[in-house]
């Protein structure tokens, strides 16, 4: 029998009361949204340590999502690389196939408490949209998902999944027609229907309290990893690697480890086709601080402060911003951020598929590749955990095209 999980959401030092992670974060939103995010912040703070809320969250994480998911020892990949022991935190085993649903579950439970029945969400890869449509169906809520037109094509499978669950998918035809524009459109919807609408953001981005709240809901990843690794190895891992789009799987994984200075933390961004602006989505690697989507954070942008078009083979990393806490963790040096190209990600995907029988999402594949390079340089006594943020089924068409 699986024991029921009550994730302990721990209030950390950051963000401060104004929603800042050092200089980053904040609430850079149109006035009309201020009451909504204030209401949300109040509501969230009131449930954050409410045992009944945590019990409910734990119940659905366990009975519906299938948590705790495994920490799988990747014996063949380890052997092939010949360095550190590689473990995989299996978010791909969650219902709907990625970590996104942890956060959605938390937010929609909160929305239910707040009496909001109209849910909106943006989605890039479609995983957050699918997760939102899923939980909305389970809770009997209306759901509208904004998705860049380009992404509705490259992630068509996920569009059908959302529609089957009675979500309305709205193809966003403005701007670059990808994730960033889907967020713009979702915010416009929110501005217009602010009274009855709950905006379920899919990553640790947006105005306060989202970066904090999403991190907290996702920190179940890191909490489980910590105790599972303890059980398997009797100590903490030497290194942890996660991919960074908006940064939610990474923050959820890192959260309980940040205070353990001996654990090296690595965030991996989308290096795309090249280091030229427009050819990648490696915000922390190449970006500069800026203000977008309600937060102050690193951004890929022009000299004039126009947000850049970005590119990644993986729709879920195709975002010119990043969660503000990552910006802080970068500047403080606590986390090392690097990037991996489209081609390398494909290699990572193939490698994990062939050695472990696990096809990762293209997003995740970035972390896999980076982790292998890292593990190679580590000793056999050390161990490294990859946050296997999602499965690759959704990406098979893209992968086919590139093989």
């Amino acid at each position: 029998m699986k024991t029921q999980l009550i994730p302990a959401i721990k209030a950390t030092q950051y963000p401060d009361k104004s929603g800042k992670f050092g200089p980053f974060g904040g609430k850079f939103v149109p006035e009309i949204l201020i009451p909504a995010i204030t209401e949300l912040e109040d509501a969230y703070l009131s449930v954050r340590e409410d045992p009944e809320f945590l019990r409910e969250f734990g119940y659905y994480l366990s009975e519906y999502v299938g948590r705790p998911n495994s920490l799988t020892f990747a014996d063949r990949l380890t052997e092939k690389i010949g360095g550190a022991k590689i473990y995989l935190k299996r978010e791909d085993l969650n219902h709907t196939g990625a970590h996104k649903i942890n956060n959605v579950l938390g937010q929609l439970l909160l929305a239910r408490r707040m009496g909001k029945k109209r849910i909106i969400a943006e989605t890039g890869a479609g995983q957050h949209g699918v997760a939102t449509a899923t939980v909305a169906a389970k809770f009997g809520m209306d759901c509208i998902v904004y998705m860049g037109e380009e992404d509705t094509v490259r992630q068509r499978l996920n569009v059908s999944r959302m529609q089957l669950m009675n979500a309305e998918v709205r193809a966003v035809k403005t701007g670059s027609r990808t994730l960033k524009d889907a967020i713009n459109e979702a915010i416009r919807d929110w501005v217009t229907h602010v009274e009855d609408t709950f905006y379920c953001i899919g990553s640790v981005v947006g105005p306060h309290p989202y970066p904090m709240m999403v991190r907290d809901f996702q920190s179940v990843i890191g909490q489980e990893t910590l105790s599972q690794h303890m059980e398997a190895e009797g100590r903490l891992p030497e290194a942890i690697v996660a991919c960074v789009g908006g940064g939610s799987n990474a923050m959820g994984m890192f959260a309980p480890f940040v205070e353990h200075q001996a654990v090296a933390l690595y965030g991996v961004e989308a290096g795309g086709r090249s280091g030229k602006i427009g050819d990648h989505a490696a915000t922390l690697t190449y970006g500069e601080p800026g203000i977008l989507h309600g937060m102050l954070t690193y951004l890929l942008q022009s000299e004039a402060g126009q947000v850049s078009d970005v590119h990644s083979i993986s729709a879920g990393l195709d975002y010119p911003g990043v969660g503000p806490e990552h910006s802080q963790l970068k500047d403080s040096g606590r986390v090392t951020y690097g990037s991996v190209t489209d081609r390398e990600a494909l290699e990572g995907l193939k490698l994990l598929s062939a050695t472990e029988g696990i096809i990762p999402a293209l997003e995740t594949a970035h972390a896999v590749y980076y982790a292998c390079e890292l593990a190679r340089k580590m000793s056999r006594e050390e161990s490294l955990v990859i946050c296997l943020s999602g499965r690759g089924d959704k990406d098979m068409e893209t992968v086919e095209k590139h093989l």
Partner: protein, 265 residues
């Protein structure tokens, strides 16, 4: 006392309602901006808001989105826009001119540098829709000490305590957002708008300018009654967008703005 506050004092004394028009810099072309600004003033606009285009105008409807994209494509920059304003203010020293734009282009330019150069261009004030009172600290006191104003917005869902904060931080006038929604011309405004504006008048001592959705002389006249004046943006851009060339645009804009001004009495 800031130029804007003086201006509103004068208008109130003259028992005049204020008509403010928003125009995106560099739209539809860079060359069009100064002539169009002239046209606005000639037609009776009392105040000008020059928009700095941004790639992600998330509080704007389709009209301003398209105009922003066009202006970016035209290579419009903040420096250039400051120059437009400097020339405009030289020519029309009686007409307040505000710089309106999303935070990021300003942030990238540098808050301090922005304020200094705006002051040098004789800019009257700023409207930054995604810089609410809680985020304005890096810029507010410098704006004030340079004799300019930072305009805040109030919306139908702004609660009383918050309005007090906005009143306290804001200066110049209060931008009353007529509806819950994005910018863009509307046929009608919701029935609640009137009560909202009455509440603002009761609870704020700032002049009140009503914006968002105003598309016709009738609507403008109606809304102007409830405050100190109105702000029109998308309705004018729609006219420009539908004009074959600049002279045609100037003509149609002139007619529309004149009618609005006339209707506002």
């Amino acid at each position: 006392m800031s130029f804007i506050r003086q201006f509103f004092g004068n208008m109130r004394k003259a028992n005049q309602k204020v008509l403010s028009i928003y125009l995106p810099a560099g739209y539809p072309t860079s060359e069009a901006t100064l002539p169009l600004l002239d046209t606005l003033v000639e037609a009776g606009a009392d105040m000008i808001e020059l928009g700095i285009p941004f790639s992600d105008p998330l509080a704007d409807g389709p009209t301003i989105q398209r105009a922003s994209q066009q202006a970016i494509a035209n290579g419009t920059t903040l420096l250039q826009s400051l120059n437009f304003l400097r020339l405009f203010r030289t020519k029309h020293p009686q007409v307040p001119a505000l710089l309106m734009g999303y935070a990021n282009p300003f942030f990238r330019f540098g808050w301090d540098r922005l304020v200094d150069m705006a002051a040098a261009a004789d800019v009257s004030g700023f409207i930054i829709p995604d810089l609410p009172p809680e985020e304005c600290e890096p810029i507010l006191s410098r704006i004030h000490s340079s004799g300019m104003d930072l305009i805040f917005l109030a919306t139908p869902n702004t609660p009383p305590e918050r309005l007090r904060l906005i009143n306290a931080k804001g200066r110049g006038f209060l931008y009353a957002v007529s509806l819950t929604g994005v910018t863009g011309a509307r046929k009608n405004l919701p029935p609640e708008t009137k009560a909202f504006l009455q509440r603002l008048r009761r609870e704020s001592s700032h002049p009140i300018m009503v914006g968002f959705g105003i598309s016709t002389p009738q609507l403008a006249a109606q809304m102007a009654k409830e405050g100190n004046g109105v702000i029109i943006g998308s309705a004018v851009i729609d006219l420009i967008e539908n004009s074959p060339d600049l002279p045609a645009a100037r003509k149609t804009v002139f007619e529309f703005v004149s009618q609005v001004k006339k209707a506002m009495g």
